[in-house]
Subunit: 157 residues, 2 copies
DNA sequence: ATTCCATTCATACTTTAGTATGATTTAAAG
DNA sequence: CTTTAAATCATACTAAAGTATGAATGGAAT
């Protein structure tokens, strides 16, 4: 357990307080004869006062336990700008990489033939991919697939 | 600033330690004559010991000060429903209200038949509207129209 | 009043989209 | 080594989308 020092000004002020207390006790010793008969009372008083002082010092100087609290702040993004691919959603639907690729091109407004040309595969293959996509996404039309995929951030705008 | 007590067994053991220390000092007083000439040294020793004891007590018993550090984590949320209809863009393309209505339903994934049913007009009328929309927007497919319309904020997401 | 335009509808047609089924290849997983 | 899944392709079909053309209506502007 370590005492973390906050700053030297505080240390100095505590030192001064300490010295002052000692002086006060000395003064009391001279002025009154409280302890004339019982040295133990005087020692006890010192013990008590400095125990309290120690407690006070410790509480003042002890390093506070830092508790980190993370607050999630919602930041709304308007479309396109920053697109974060939601892999979880894609995986959840069981969409393959190729299917997502086709989905994106579909959403970009390409016809099946254009997608086929772009990916250097046959029109039939595109149709097969798209049928699988519809099955997995549980939709009936490409427009629905596009709508859903964008909502799930599977494809960008 | 409050001292939080952990349990009474500890308090008792600390009390015993306290008493033992006092006894030890008394014993030292008798055994050696360390303080014979200087009472101040003895008082200082007591002060020091009990300051340390106080500090130790405080650290043991005090409930640690919890300083909460708040970290704001930004959670990005794609899209908001904050949609501002871009009338200028729609007017620029010469799209009529009805056409924009059809466009929106198209983007929502409805088939021509479903749009017709929803608007209580015939499938043929929907086809006519859509052909006009494609002409005005200079596109060939509904997916392209949807893409463009969304980019121009003519329809919402 | 008449022109203009949005809206509606129809028929006939072409093109594209989507379904069903089966098959091959290849790479990863068991 | 064999099973599994992704990716590829084909044929044949149905359904939906999209085009072309023409037309009727009603409201707003000229």
């Amino acid at each position: 357990m370590s005492l973390q020092i906050k700053n030297y000004k505080q240390i100095i002020s505590y030192g001064i307080s300490f010295a002052f207390l000692l002086a006060l006790l000395k003064w009391l010793e001279i002025r009154y004869i409280v302890f004339q008969n019982s040295f133990e009372i005087y020692a006890g008083a010192i013990a008590l006062i400095f125990t309290v002082l120690g407690i006070w010092l410790a509480l003042k100087l002890a390093k506070p336990t830092i508790q980190t609290k993370i607050i999630e702040k919602e930041v709304f993004i308007n479309r396109v700008d920053e697109f974060k691919f939601n892999r979880a959603a894609a995986d959840n639907l069981g969409l393959s990489d190729r299917e997502i690729e086709v989905l994106q091109l579909m959403a970009n407004g390409l016809s099946n033939q254009e997608i086929a040309d772009k990916l250097f595969i046959s029109l039939n293959t595109i149709k097969t991919h798209i049928s699988r996509i519809f099955e997995k996404m549980n939709v009936k039309r490409r427009t629905q697939a596009i709508e859903l995929a964008k909502n799930l951030s599977i494809i960008s705008y």
